[in-house]
């Protein structure tokens, strides 16, 4: 199964991924707490929750300026 992997060596915890993710799901509202991807306060086991990869075009990966995100697996 495909999933989004955070490379914590590259992630600078700027949360831009959380911002664009929350904008996908909550209408016109930036709310990192509602983001499917969790970048801040590194949680090694959980990278994304209930994430549908934005229909195979993950907005978080596009937004990341630190090359920390990748879609991996089938």
């Amino acid at each position: 199964m495909a999933r989004i992997k955070i490379d914590h060596n590259n992630c600078c915890e700027c949360c831009l991924c959380e911002v664009v993710c929350s904008l996908q799901y909550s209408e016109n509202t930036v709310n990192p707490k509602k983001s499917r991807i969790v970048a801040l306060f590194r949680k090694p086991d959980v990278d994304t929750i209930n994430c549908d990869h934005c229909g195979n075009d993950p907005q978080c990966i596009k937004a990341c300026l630190s090359d920390a995100l990748a879609l991996i697996g089938e």
Binding site: C14, V19, N28, T29, V30, P32, K34, K62, L65
Partner: protein
């Protein structure tokens, strides 16, 4: 409202209660937020002549409409109060995650009034606002305080971490240069931490689960993609994560404008290429702020047994004042001194400037050795580190240093040896190397400051013609940036060519309040003038728009800036004119009417 969340949280520590008010949309549009809106509230609510340490003074934590909006660099919050250092208006800006969290809790601004009887801290979780006892935190460093609060509240929370701003011993002891720290980020200047301490408020802890709505999310997303694209192509994305602000040290060295030995000189051997030395020998990792990919924030470690430690920084200005300005080029000692300032909760710039002033007083024989307890020569790294600890706790000679350089130099009868403006110490660039910088320092409303006027260019650095108008426009632009919640470092230095187009566009897509380049700059001018009005009513005058005699009359002795003084007299009258102020530096009735400040001017 969009961008703004439309609520203000007001906490009265004397009564121990709180209330929530609506934010007036017209006021928000006119003063933007952050520095502007908070200063307007301060102006309306306190008597500018009040004692800064009295319960009548207020302490405001203010976000801008772009804080937490997802705009790149939209991480900032501003602490506004009456400064115990300058006796004028203070506005200290910090990044990290605290500002966005305040917004996510549902507040544009937190206003703290009165004074608690016992030490307390504020615990804000969305609508739940509690005043908690903090006796057990009193006396703790900023690092210890954050850790203790985190472990205290972790037991009761299921959601992710909380953001904390707090003071250290310096704020508690009303050290006039105390700052407010948030996870290594400092709302640094003008003694805002001492006001927090005077209110017996140790920390503000925030957790928010709400969001920030955008007026035009589609346009906003396109704008952010555009900004991101420019960032990807910018060499800054490579350099900033490597060196942060450290490249400023080499720049200052190159132009011979590095604050050295209490501004007697402009360069010192042993600091060229400092960014590489810091990177190779002290760097541990880079951190960043909310929605910023530049990772300027450096975590470092000192292994030298004499100055061992780990912590944040130093930024370049801190390095300049704690190092070369004190005649010190021992990097380990400078980094250690920076850690101690952070732990004590003390402004690194003013701390360095004050110690440098003491060193010159000593070397010239005006400060007796018995007062310090030992000789205090320029270049004494051990004394630097020891005195910072003493200053934070007001022990021994530290008690005198805690008053800042202006009061120190006055006490020993030589006010001319204080290097600063409006009782606040200079930052790291020596103003003799850039005429416009001299004008900017002299006219800054919060006293000497490197963040109120950034329009200094290498090729026109010795010119005075035309600098007044340039400084005025840049000050207005920066006032609007500070108020928007955006970060200086991105929107001032790197994006210079297109900043005036992008910032109003960000404001407009987020708020939908009708922002254009013109009315944004007008708002900046309004903000600059309300600060000026506050200062005038607090007792400051045109006489305070000046520089120390050394900067005006003693030419730089050596280096690429050799022979220069700041020719302030050639620029200041032109500056007042550009501002629409009279020859006494007082805004004219016409100017105030143009800015919608007639009522404030007449108060």
């Amino acid at each position: 409202m969009h961008g703004w969340v439309g609520k203000i949280l007001r906490v009265n520590l004397t009564r121990g209660d709180n209330s929530i008010e609506d934010l007036d949309p017209d006021l928000a549009r006119e003063f933007i937020g952050g520095r502007g809106l908070a200063t307007k509230f301060l102006f309306n609510e306190i008597d500018p002549s009040v004692d800064p340490f009295s319960p009548e003074n207020e302490l405001l934590f203010a976000t801008g409409p772009l804080t937490g909006s997802g705009a790149i660099g939209g991480s900032r919050y501003m602490v506004v109060t009456k400064s115990p250092l300058t006796d004028g208006v203070a506005c200290s800006n910090a990044g990290g995650y605290f500002g966005p969290e305040l917004k996510f809790a549902g507040y544009d601004m937190l206003i703290v009034e009165g004074k608690a009887q016992e030490p307390v801290y504020l615990l804000i979780e969305d609508d739940d606002v509690q005043i908690k006892p903090a006796r057990h935190l009193w006396g703790k460093t900023t690092v210890e305080t954050e850790a203790m609060i985190r472990s205290e509240i972790r037991a009761t929370t299921k959601v992710r971490e909380t953001q904390i701003s707090c003071i250290g011993p310096a704020g508690e002891n009303r050290v006039r240069i105390a700052c407010i720290m948030h996870s290594g980020h400092a709302a640094g200047r003008s003694g805002v931490g001492a006001v927090m301490g005077s209110k017996n408020l140790k920390a503000v802890t925030i957790r928010g689960m709400k969001g920030v709505t955008l007026a035009d999310a589609d346009s906003f997303k396109k704008l952010i993609a555009d900004v991101s694209d420019k960032i990807r192509k910018s060499p800054m994305l490579e350099r900033r994560p490597l060196y942060g602000t450290w490249t400023g040290i080499s720049r200052a060295y190159k132009f011979g404008v590095l604050a050295t030995k209490n501004f007697q000189e402009g360069c010192i051997e042993g600091v060229d290429g400092a960014e590489k030395v810091l990177r190779d020998n002290f760097f541990v990792k880079s951190n960043t702020c909310f929605c910023c990919p530049f990772q300027e924030f450096k975590v470092t470690r000192v292994t030298d047994p004499e100055f061992q430690g780990e912590g944040e920084g130093p930024e370049w200005e801190s390095f300049g004042l704690l190092g070369p300005d004190c005649g010190i080029t021992n990097f380990a000692a400078i980094v250690k001194a920076n850690y101690l300032c952070n732990e004590m909760g003390m402004d690194t710039i003013s701390a360095g400037g004050t110690i440098a002033c003491a060193m010159e007083l000593y070397e010239r024989g005006f400060l007796p050795e018995k007062d310090v307890g030992y000789p205090l020569h320029f270049g004494d790294a051990k004394a630097l580190v020891e005195l910072i600890g003493k200053m934070g706790r007001r022990q021994g000679f530290g008690d005198m240093l805690a008053e800042g350089g202006y009061r120190l130099a006055n006490k020993y009868g030589h006010p001319e040896l204080f290097m600063g403006v409006k009782k606040q110490e200079f930052p790291g660039f020596h103003p003799q190397g850039f005429q416009i910088l001299g004008l900017g320092y002299a006219t800054s409303n919060r006293g000497a400051c490197h963040l109120k006027n950034n329009a200094y260019y290498d090729d026109t650095r010795f010119e005075t013609a035309g600098q007044a108008a340039l400084a005025k426009t840049d000050q207005d632009y920066i006032a609007s940036i500070d108020s928007s919640g955006l970060c200086h470092a991105i929107y001032i230095r790197d994006f210079l060519p297109w900043r005036e187009e992008i910032v109003p566009s960000l404001l407009e897509t987020v708020t939908g309040a009708g922002y254009t380049r013109e009315n944004m700059l007008l708002a900046g001018e309004r903000i600059w003038n309300i600060e000026r009005l506050f200062n005038l009513k607090a007792g400051l005058t045109a006489k305070d728009d000046t520089l120390p005699k050394r900067i005006l009359e003693e030419p730089m002795p050596e280096g690429p800036t050799k022979g220069q003084v700041v020719r302030l007299g050639e620029m200041l009258p032109e500056y007042y004119k550009a501002r629409g102020w009279d020859i006494n530096g007082v805004p004219t009735a016409e100017k105030l009417a143009e800015l919608g400040l007639s009522q404030e001017g007449g108060r």
